[in-house]
Amino acid sequence: MTTYLIKNARPYGEDAVDLVLRDGDIASIGENLTAPGAEVVDGTGLVLLPGLVDLHTHLREPGREDAETVESGSRAAALGGFTAVHAMANTDPVADTAGVVEQVWRLGQEAGLVDVVPVGAVTVGLAGAQLAELGAMADSAARVRVFSDDGHCVADPALMRRALEYVKALDGVVAQHAEEPRLTVGAQMHEGDRSARLGLTGWPAAAEEAIIARDVLLAQHVGARLHVCHVSTAGSVELLRWAKSRGVQVTAEVTPHHLLLTDECAEGYDPVFKVNPPLRTDVDVAAVRLGLADGTIDAVATDHAPHAVEDKECEWAMARPGMLGLEQALSVVVTTMMSPDGPGPGRLDWRAVADRMSVRPAAIGRLAGHGRPIAAGEPANLVLVDPAHRGTVDPAALASRSRNSPYAGRELPGRVVATFLRGTPTVLDGKAVK
């Protein structure tokens, strides 16, 4: 195994140091290090962070390999600075058995670009009726700890209660897609002034908030862990803040697109901006940024959702919801949360970015080797970022098989220069190694 010597990188944006990566670990950190025979990576001017961890990725395999595969999604993840991604269960067949989660896990191992961590479905076929064999998935080689019907809400309150209780025995967590289905029949975009004018059926903020309110009460009642996917509204942030102040074991994530974009994007009816939950208002964007900054929202998770061209190049109502996110997630966080002209209380420093994009998501997913401190003896899951770089997003240049990036043509700051997975580079000079 090749030894790597990273010169002059700034861990968490702090003082520059050298690092030796050997046998999968950080062997040493210090000044003026040498390592005979090592490959040298110049980290001058670059920020070093622990490898990013995504709690929410759609890799589409098995079932829609035309939109994404475990391998292409893994490459996109590595280029985005990730060393671990959770693969959502809404594949075809659904990841609701030990067999399917092991298949996805094995495909991830074969690709070898990130740790692909399968999420298991809560209910059989995501149908919301009967619990899937959660224990079998937890005990499988895939070691599933996060369970989600994402794409669908576990809407039945009794079933949700049982799921929350049951996964306590597995050290698991239920990741809820909070959407009261009876309030979102036919919903196309955020319900408000714009939906009224555009004639698109509204997705009310209350449909998300009602489920979060219910679920935090259930989680408290049964003493279980709850994770809330893709928080999108100001009201949701307020509910989470309240629940955390009461000691409820709840964690939450926000997507890059909900940090940056608003329902204004629906003007023009380009379905690349159709997503579930929908893009909300300026007020909501400000609230989720603040929630992420103060820790009410624990993590940034991409909800990377590749879709084939024909599923987006159509009428808005017929398009599938979802947008790409893996390759631009860090840049979006930099532009929304670190900008010097951004609001003071809503800002993150690099340590906080590492916390929200690596440490906390790894803890929520119970991933032992990820989200670790940058210290000697720790696994060498690392990413080197050039914060000064500015680039324009070109969907055709993405590693994903799909092109539905909402950031097309947008100039964003920050670039992933190198990613290391257990001491082996998956990205060098901004390019995927394989």
């Binding site: 408000g192 004639g199 509204g202 009310p204 159509c314 009428e315």
Partner: protein, 309 residues
């Protein structure tokens, strides 16, 4: 004029007035003529691309194009383009490859004409998209009001009914506002969109109080099926609270006109004695629709010199 007519917002006061004036000129030119045909669009091809059934709007556009001597192709694609197998984009490009100069589109999905306009070089006319807009309906309504009342500026228009699902309402609100009219929408709160507060209208839940001050009452079609989704308890209750019957008609000032875009649910939103009264412009609206659509096609395809916009 712009290249397309997708929504009321595409028309500023000058454009909208130009359409109405052009329709008036066309009416005048054709009045009393035995052959109701102008040679303006000879050699041009207009495609009626209808994804929803709509006999009256399709016939109106067909007649408008034919009276301008354009070649007309009617392409009826029931259901969605996706369920049919061919995408809207492929269909549009196929039609254009055959030489269409303008596509008149009726579609169940809001925004479909906007998508289409990005994929074709020719003009796109929105003939009704989902619950979004139906701009030529608003133009013919404005034309009808102006003919009857002689003006639009300051005219008090009351729009009654299922505003939430109505593309006619959205286009009329936008266009009438541009033309200086004073619009009030009346409906049960369930049939008003969340966000109606941002519209340039007055909102009321009580029809009886607004009728005595109306110059125009525009009744919208209400589908009885809406009661199944609890938008209102029953057709009877809807009719009692929001229907225009003889008693309510008596509350109107003498010159007030009653409009309906059709097709009507007689006995639901409008009583037969109102629909058939002298106040009713319903039949006139249909005739004006042809003139206004002629004006739109003329201005988009033949009216303005090359290069102007």
């Amino acid at each position: 004029m712009r290249r397309h007519l997708l929504e009321a917002a595409d028309l500023d006061l000058g454009d909208a007035t130009l359409v109405l004036d052009t329709a008036a000129q066309i009416d005048a030119a054709l009045a009393g003529r035995e052959v109701k045909k102008l040679p303006t669009l000879r050699g041009r091809t207009v495609v009626n691309l209808f994804y929803e059934d709509s006999t009256r709007t399709r016939i109106s556009f067909e007649l408008a194009a034919k009276r301008l001597s354009a070649d007309v192709i009617n392409f009826s694609a029931k259901g969605s383009s996706v369920s049919k197998g061919e995408s809207l984009k492929d269909t549009a490009q196929t039609l254009e490859a055959m030489g269409s100069d303008a596509i008149v589109i009726r579609h169940g999905a809001s925004g479909a004409p906007h998508r289409l306009a990005q994929w074709v070089r020719g003009s796109v006319v929105n003939a009704g998209d989902g619950t979004h807009e139906h701009p030529t309906q608003a133009l013919l309504d404005a034309y009808t009001i102006r003919r009857r009342l002689g003006r639009l500026d300051g005219v008090r228009v009351v729009l009654v009914g299922d505003v939430l699902h109505s593309r006619v309402a959205r286009s009329n609100v936008g266009l009438l506002h541009t033309l200086g009219a004073d619009v009030t929408v009346v409906a049960p709160p369930t049939l008003l969109p969340v966000g109606v507060g941002s519209w340039p209208v007055t909102v009321s839940y009580d029809l009886d109080t607004v009728l005595p001050k109306a110059d125009v009452v525009m009744m919208l079609r209400v589908q009885g099926e809406r009661m199944n989704a609890s938008f209102f308890p029953s057709a009877r209750e809807y009719s009692r609270r929001y229907g225009l019957d003889a008693r309510r008609m008596a509350l109107l000032p003498d010159d007030t006109i009653v409009m309906h875009p059709g097709p009507m649910n007689r006995g639901m939103e409008i009583a037969a004695e109102v629909a058939d009264s002298v106040r009713s412009t319903i039949v006139e609206q249909v005739g004006n629709g042809v003139s206004v659509r002629m004006a739109v096609l003329y201005l988009l395809l033949g009216g303005a010199p090359e290069g102007s916009s």
